[in-house]
């Protein structure tokens, strides 16, 4: 459970830092008065959707941290046989990086009000994300063909389950991306477009980060690191 405890500690630091800005030591019973007397304590000025996305990423992060916790506890059991990672995953990873880069491109274009590049960025980002998903399905098929079924070993089970959960999150992102693209197509107002593109970009970077961590875990790169952590904790 160390992964999730670590994740919670990070969340606690962020929440603690935010709370420390909120004058929690105020004595409200003495502070009668109109607004504006206490600067910086009013509601957040960020758009609701952006705060909402931030909170949702914390939830999704907690979900993946829990999967990682379960993975690292289960992998110590005697029956664990590490899965040979299909080479296709490297290609998929490249495509996902490309997807993130193109969305970043769209975001930069949105800040410059460059409609044409926004559309190019969004469409390329969406296309490469779909390619990633298809690549993941092919990787599953290759594994199945090689005799690595979902129930034949816990390492396989985790591989299928975790990639599926990550893929589902990406599909959710694709829905939002589709709506954003439609909005741009319809010619919505620039501030709206800018925010939507920004939120999609943040979400894409988050999923890329999660994927890199998961890849490290599934390919066993991080085994040494996990070992060191485990020794430190014991």
């Amino acid at each position: 459970m160390s992964a999730i405890v670590l994740f919670m500690a990070v969340i606690a630091v962020i929440v603690g830092w935010w709370l420390s800005q909120q004058r929690l030591t105020a004595k409200p019973w003495l502070e009668e008065g109109p607004i504006g007397d206490f600067p910086g304590t009013d509601a957040m000025t960020w758009p609701a959707a952006k705060i909402g996305l931030g909170v949702f990423l914390a939830v999704a992060g907690s979900l993946f941290a829990l999967f990682i916790s379960a993975y690292s506890m289960r992998m110590n059991m005697a029956d664990w046989r590490t899965l040979p990672v299909p080479g296709l995953l490297w290609f998929n990873t490249g495509v996902l990086v490309l997807s993130s880069v193109t969305l970043q491109w769209a975001y930069v274009a949105a800040r410059r009000d460059d409609m044409e590049n926004i559309i190019i960025g969004l469409c390329a980002g969406g296309a490469s994300a779909v390619t990633f998903l298809i690549g993941q399905l092919l990787a599953w098929q290759q594994l199945r063909a090689a005799g690595y079924f979902v129930a034949s070993n816990p390492a396989n089970s985790f591989f299928y389950m975790i990639t599926a959960v990550h893929g589902l999150h990406l599909m959710g992102g694709l829905v939002a991306l589709g709506r954003t693209t439609a909005k741009v197509w319809r010619g919505a107002e620039m501030p709206q477009v800018r925010l939507s593109v920004e939120l999609c970009t943040i979400y894409w970077h988050f999923l890329l980060l999660v994927w890199l961590v998961l890849l490290g875990l599934l390919t066993g790169w991080t085994d040494d690191f996990v070992d060191i952590c485990r020794r430190l904790l014991n």
Binding site: M8, Q22, R23, W29, I51, A58, L63, P154
Partner: protein, 591 residues
Amino acid sequence: MVDVPYDAVIDVPPAEVAEVDLYHPRSWWTRYVFSQDAKVIAIQYSLTATAIGLVALVLSWLMRLQLGFPGTFSFIDANQYLQFITMHGMIMVIYLLTALFLGGFGNYLIPLMVGARDMVFPYVNMLSYWVYLLAVLVLASAFFVPGGPTGAGWTLYPPQAILSGTPGQDYGIILMLSSLILFIIGFTMGGLNYVVTVLQARTRGMTLMRMPLTVWGIFTATVMALLAFPALFVASVMMLFDRVLGTSFFMPSLVEMGQQMKYGGGSPILFQHLFWFFGHPEVYIVALPAFGIVSDLISTHARKNIFGYRMMVWAIVAIGALSFVVWAHHMYVSGMHPKFGFFFATTTLIIAIPTAIKVYNWVLTLWRGDIHLTVPMLFALGFIITFVNGGLTGLFLGNVVVDVPLSDTMFVVAHFHMVMGVAPIMVVLGAIYHWYPKVTGRMLNDALGKFHFWVTFLGAYLIFFPMHYIGLLGVPRRYHDIGEAAFIPSSTHTLNAFITIMALTVGFAQMVFLFNLAWSLFRGRPSGGNPWRATTLEWQTPETPPGHGNWGKELPIVYRWAYDYSVPGAAQDFIPQNQPRATPALQGAAP
């Protein structure tokens, strides 16, 4: 019902959306059924939770009938008894209490109390309710499938949860896990709303330290739930894989009916870690809103400011944080390393400190207050007493050496029913008596309310006090029939019958309450806008029940904290939060 789809830009916080910009529902369907108004969603959540809660109440009667009069009721066999236990526990903890406190009270009170027109993502909020309803229907459908609902106990421990000896192994367990997954998805949608509304949509002047403690409690509980429910989600998904796809996340190698099963190598303890990483914060997800609400009830009905407001806020936050590092105290008997046991016993006992601060502050709020023994106040007082009682036995069970012998006895059942069953339900009932006038514009009948309180309060003690004693005798829990054992005196059977009769009595008192709810809707005394003369914003709405968009044309502006009761020199014994600073003449009159 602000027209702010979740991906739109909002240059002004939704709290400042003008009345003319509101999205107005055009038909009966979008107004009352597929409504995006948080108040309607709150009522939908509350009614659904109450309906499924009544099912769980009936299940508890059936269990008590079996325990009180074993052998008399031939239609309750051992398997059904286990199914009743499982469904009763799961419904009460998750589908009733969590949904009612966060989906019900959260939806109704957060926008009103922080001065917003609605939740920030009304469409997602509506979706949250419909997914919740679907989760409830999936759960309830388990009663009608072959084999019935699962009988794995509400903790659903593997491996027995998916073995053939356990009732509901065919479909019950699959429906249970699917329903939990749906519930969590639905809750996450709602939870995002509650958190972002508090963060972003507070009206001008409503600083965090001016928020009523109800909002603090619901807000902190929602943050915890958003972070803790993924653990149950992960556990449910993994167990669903084990059950449906034959993986071995949790399943060790087993021989069932002489047959070697296809499972092997899995870890049941892994499930317990995941389950309780959710399960313990869940206790406080239910308790923190209760703490917040009870603080407001006590302050309002004792006409006195809450004692130690800052401490109350800090304690809520501290309890929220600590509750994530105590989960393994539910697993003392799982054979864990003694050092872990020591660690978790220590963190568990540390939680008693902020909790005790809260209890002291409630008592000090009452001290020399102008206590009005209204029905909400009675329930609030009942809560404090019950919570202290339940909390004290929690100190017993938090210690490894005491927990190990008591762990599988009725003592534990009595403990968690006091602290997590009776205590929060007291707050739910008190809160309904308190806010019903705002929701309907009519008062609940006082005489019926007092009858309801006394029967519920005294009855609950007559049920659960003897149960502690039965537990100390060593009577095991989860047993369909304790039979004749040398260590169980025959008087235990008499006591069990007594508990059953009390349980039925308390149950019927709830029917009186339901009657009161329905009757007062039409015949209750009109309440006016602020019958309790309370300070918080929800009582200052221009209309009662609050109209669409809550505040009419002008949003309220907040000038003071939520607890200006009996301020010396003030004209009334309460000053609403949106009342500007007193005139100099009035201030001169103050001592």
